[in-house]
Amino acid sequence: MRIFDPHIHMTSRTTDDYEAMYAAGVRAVVEPAFWLGQPRTSPSSFYDYFDSLLGWEPFRAAQYGIAHHCTIALNPKEANDPRCTPVLDQLPRYLMKDNVVAVGEIGYDSMTPAEDAALSAQLQMAADAELPALVHTPHRDKLAGLHRTIDVVRESALPLDRVLLDHLNETTVKDAKEAGCWLGFSVYPDTKMDEDRMVAILKEYGAEKVLVNSAADWGRSDPLKTRKVGDAMLAAGFTDDEVDQVLWRNPVAFYGLSGRLDLDVADTDATHEGNSILRGGE
């Protein structure tokens, strides 16, 4: 089973997780820029974080045979802090980078005017940079937040079919699907979705444009939830091909809209001008 986790915060995870993920079949991840638990108070700490997503984290992932890409954005929660909003001015420079495959996570947290402004501005940046967007749906007041999100996307320069709406569940999947968006589901130990509910949604709505992620981060979460969904799908009678569609081909297709997805981790940076930099002194 080959697995692409389209939303996981590896910065918060250990190398044991990378090992276990590889053993479970994970060969590619996308790490969206998001909140770090501790609020940031200056743009510079965002830039160091973005640089880490474009430097150290892909290097770490490659050690374990996993291709790492990222999405870059000012997240909605911190978009409410005026000390952080200057980050928006620097985003176009980051959105040009090779490893950036979408703008994200953007969307709503508390649905404030500041979040409205940041969401609209970043949807425009996605259109300008020819990138798709990963749009998080809020944890509180979710259905109203979904409708408002879809309305804002409709008014933007970014087509709905270049948007992945994430953290969907039983109450939001239908409207998101009818809007023509890509459908993201985060499977968590306690909150969000679980494996069996995910299987039920796949039975009802089909596998088209559906992406499943662990959204694993610094909270209680499980980086192997993608594999567990694959196993639950097989147990429920889905075919290997359907599992592959959800866990590999759909995320490849969505992030492939960027034109920047490079899944050839084995070849990455192995040599330069004949100088082997393989590890271990080979």
Partner: protein, 250 residues
């Protein structure tokens, strides 16, 4: 400083390796980089800097370093521009800047970038940092630590430019290598094969030291006088490749 014919050879080699689409993208990007700058809209990046960022996806990861080096050369990027691009760069862009230093910066003013790269644990940056520019401008202390860092992180010392010249007769480097070998052996861990290779180089017949030793550093006698043969454990022939997670130096 590497001469321009090296760049011409690099360009010819790269163009023959690229497909037609990538080749024409590169030609266009190099023309933009070579054009007089200053016409960029207010607040916008110069076009060639956008091309520098895009080079990986346009030319392929395998050719990105060379493409970026050619762009930096065509734009005649000076130390200030290279420093900015490095500071704002992804790991791949930083690596390209490090490779470009020997071609574009005649003096030591960019050595801070090399020192920055040597503080990372990203082996691709460490390997690029010990190229010709680092070989020319790192002082003896920093250079020895760079060699040791290669051994620590598993970067092949093939990446270390001018290794034989700088290691020759370096008793202090020999001492550091010997101590490291003993530390590995005490821990029951294999000694990297490269360590013996560098140690042998330190023991080669000395020439008058061209190296600039900082004042007060013990100057080199024959390194073998400091590390008698037999004090360094033999290489374990079954040394594992330790492909994963080798850079554990925090």
């Amino acid at each position: 400083m590497t001469s321009t014919p090296g760049i011409a050879t690099l360009r010819a080699g790269l163009e023959s390796a690229l497909d037609e689409g990538a080749r024409s993208w590169l030609d266009q990007a190099l023309s933009e980089a070579a054009a007089p700058q200053g016409e960029a809209a207010q607040g916008a990046l110069p076009v060639w800097e956008l091309r520098f960022a895009q080079a990986g996806r346009r030319c392929g990861t395998r050719h990105a370093d060379d493409a970026r080096l050619l762009l930096l050369h065509a734009a005649r990027a000076d130390a200030a521009a290279l420093t900015r691009l490095y500071e704002q760069g992804t790991a791949a862009e930083r690596r390209a800047v490090l490779h470009a230093l020997a071609h574009l910066v005649p003096g030591p003013e960019a050595v801070g970038l090399v020192q920055d790269a040597l503080r990372t644990n990203d082996t691709s940056l460490v390997a690029a940092a010990v190229g010709p520019y680092g070989a020319e401008h790192l002082d003896a202390h920093d250079w020895r630590h760079a060699v040791l860092k290669c051994l620590f992180t598993g970067v092949s010392v093939d990446a270390v430019a001018a290794l034989a010249d700088r290691a020759r007769g370096d008793a202090e480097l020999a001492r550091m290598l010997g101590d490291y070998a003993r530390e590995r052996t005490a821990a029951g861990r294999p000694v990297p094969g490269d360590l013996h290779r560098v140690l042998t180089l330190t023991q080669c017949a000395t020439e008058p030291p061209a190296d600039t030793e900082p004042a007060g550093t013990a100057s080199a006698g024959p390194a073998s006088a400091e590390v008698p043969a037999g004090t360094v454990p033999a290489q374990d022939p079954a040394e594992p490749a330790s492909a994963a997670a080798s850079p554990q130096e925090n």
